[in-house]
């Protein structure tokens, strides 16, 4: 007997489990409207990965858009909680241009947002939930942590100007040491400063030794604070099956994030499936008090994981002849479905295709005969 739960895909089952986990920790489901005011995205396009948004004029003349980002909508619409952090989770679709297909694509996302007073515990809780969320999808997962303030703090200390700063951020995102060396030369950095800049690409690996190496590079309070915060969050979040690593070359979207960064990977999938971090700037830009932190899981990407499937697509194949009583066929099908079996009725001469079945019934005017599975 199969329960309805078993007919779900692995991703759907994991999503339900995560929903339960988030609700147990006090996160409220946030359901958004399908559309958003287009102006929200045009006024805040620095926060988007692409300025290209699907827009249309509604029947009342308002210019609306299909959401390219969930966080902006939540920050705009969620009510402010004085002296408290609002905890929300969502399962929504976003619409973004595909880099390769020259077309928009719908991406199914699940995520959490904490808005308001963001303390060290809130950061730890979100990091723990990010690690647990990766574990829910089965294969080996890895959560990488970084803090934007470390790389930016070093750029400040080295006196990198705007253009070179952008080049350095690009090079870091690609772990491109030769490009960082070019930036160092262009900025006229001395040997020691150039080595410090280039060392950023090497700062990845298990959290404890990597943060120890990073401490040696700290120049100023901002960088030291970033490392101290990462160490505290990692120490609390490194538990159970959680796999944590540090990658200080991870800089993310610098207009969007301003501190802790999270990236999650699942073995077997080619790109990050979890993206998140601290985004206080968005709240400030939208006139809200406090800060924000959260992450989003790309369920569309995760659904590409190979599924463990039962070989038999059907539990019961009901074949019937032309002289069979439709009521008898209907009773056989309904009875099997009530037992939780996957059942399909076909005329005897119909080709069941390549589908497999465990048991078969042949119903004719003469009665019901049991057949064989395939």
């Amino acid at each position: 007997m199969r329960s309805d739960y078993q007919t779900l895909t692995a991703v759907e089952r994991a999503s339900l489990a995560l929903r339960e986990l988030y609700e147990r920790l006090g996160y409220r489901k946030y359901r958004m409207g399908q559309f958003e005011e287009y102006s929200l995205y045009m006024d805040n396009k620095n926060f988007l990965s692409s300025e290209r948004v699907i827009s249309f004029t509604d029947l009342d003349g308002r210019l609306l858009a299909l959401r390219p980002d969930v966080t902006l909508s939540i920050v705009r619409h969620a009510s402010e909680q004085p002296h408290a952090a609002e905890r929300l989770y969502y399962t929504e679709s976003v619409y973004r241009p595909s880099a390769e297909g020259h077309a928009f694509k719908e991406i199914s996302q699940m995520g959490i947002e904490v808005l308001g007073e963001i303390d060290r515990y809130a950061m730890t809780e979100v990091t723990l939930l990010a690690a647990q969320s990766l574990c829910a999808f089965g294969p080996k997962g890895l959560l990488e942590l970084s803090d934007l303030r470390f790389a930016v703090g070093l750029f400040d200390a080295l006196g990198l100007k705007d253009g070179l700063r952008v080049q350095a951020l690009d090079a870091l995102g690609q772990k491109n040491r030769p490009a960082l060396e070019t930036v160092a030369r262009a900025a006229g950095l001395g040997t020691e400063d150039a080595a410090a800049l280039c060392a950023l690409v090497e700062l990845y690996g298990p959290w404890q030794p990597t943060l120890a190496r990073a401490r040696a590079l700290c120049r100023g309070e901002t960088m030291a604070a970033a490392i101290e915060e990462l160490a505290s969050v990692c120490a609390a979040a490194a538990q159970g099956d959680n796999q944590l690593a540090i990658d200080l070359s991870l800089v993310g979207h610098t207009d969007y994030y301003n501190g802790l960064l999270l990236r999650g990977y699942l073995e077997g999938l080619p790109r990050a499936v979890l993206v998140g971090g601290r985004y206080d700037r968005i709240l400030k830009k939208l006139g809200k008090a406090g800060g924000g932190i959260g992450f989003a899981l790309d369920l569309s990407e995760i659904s590409r994981l190979p599924e463990q499937k039962d070989d038999a697509a059907l539990d019961l194949l009901v074949q019937y002849t032309e002289d069979a009583d439709p009521a008898v066929v209907a009773r056989a099908v309904a009875g099997a479905a009530r037992q939780g079996l996957r059942v399909r009725a076909l005329r005897q001469e119909e080709d069941p295709g390549e589908r497999c079945w465990k048991d078969a019934l042949l119903i004719s005017g003469a009665g019901v005969q049991r057949g064989d599975g395939c």
């Binding site: 772990k175 030769p178 690593a245 080619p270 790109r271």
Partner: protein, 210 residues
């Protein structure tokens, strides 16, 4: 070793240089040279599987995780900007991205410049940096013909020795990008196969420094 490291390698002229480099650091590529039609080669001793693909497709295989690492020209990376790690400049296959035209060409800055190229994005970015209005004519080969036949004012293309340019009575006016082969890695593979990828990168780095 339980799992192979899958390496996407370019066919053709750059390929020969890449196979030499890999052999110098202990990754045998003899079978690739011997067999003209196979596209997948395994080297169990080194724990690697090679995929032989078109040079412009190497980064696609790596970005989508069909290959863990690959070797590809900087021109392809600049044109397509794949989301991969660019771990090393291997220093082989050196050439330049250049603007060329007929040797008697004089630019008329009062008109939109017609640019023939197969590197559409590189050309657009270069002329955008000069704030020059251009019209792109996208070609897939024999780019040098375009200015000779009046199809375009200039071409943006790769120049290695300059022989093709000279033999077609063209002249290089500007070189604006240095190109060489790069060792790239898929971002997820870099996390889960870090030890083997780092080992290969370190070996390659040792040779290119020498």
């Amino acid at each position: 070793m339980s799992e192979y490291l899958t390496v996407a390698l370019p066919k053709g002229r750059l390929g020969d240089k890449v196979y030499n480099l890999l052999e110098r650091v202990g990754y045998d590529c003899r079978e690739i040279r011997e067999d003209g039609r196979k596209l997948v080669f395994e080297n169990p001793a080194a724990g690697v599987r090679y995929l032989l693909v078109k040079p412009s497709d190497v980064a696609i295989y790596v970005e989508h995780g069909a290959a863990d690492v690959g070797i590809v020209g900087k021109d392809i990376l600049e044109e397509n900007r794949p989301d991969v790690y660019e771990l090393l400049d291997l220093g082989i296959g050196r050439c330049r991205m250049a603007v060329a035209s007929r040797s008697d060409y004089r630019e008329d800055t009062s008109r939109t410049l017609r640019v023939a190229t197969k590197f559409e994005n590189i050309a657009k970015r270069y002329y955008a940096s000069l704030n020059r209005d251009i019209e792109i004519i996208r070609l897939n080969g024999s780019i040098e013909l375009a200015p000779l036949l009046g199809l375009s004012d200039v071409i943006v293309d790769i120049v290695e020795s300059g022989t093709t340019i000279r033999e077609n009575n063209l002249k290089v006016f500007t070189e604006f990008m240095q190109i060489s082969a790069r060792f790239i890695a898929n971002k997820s593979s870099f996390k889960f196969k870090n030890e083997v990828i780092t080992r290969m990168a370190d070996k390659l780095n040792g040779v290119i420094k020498v």
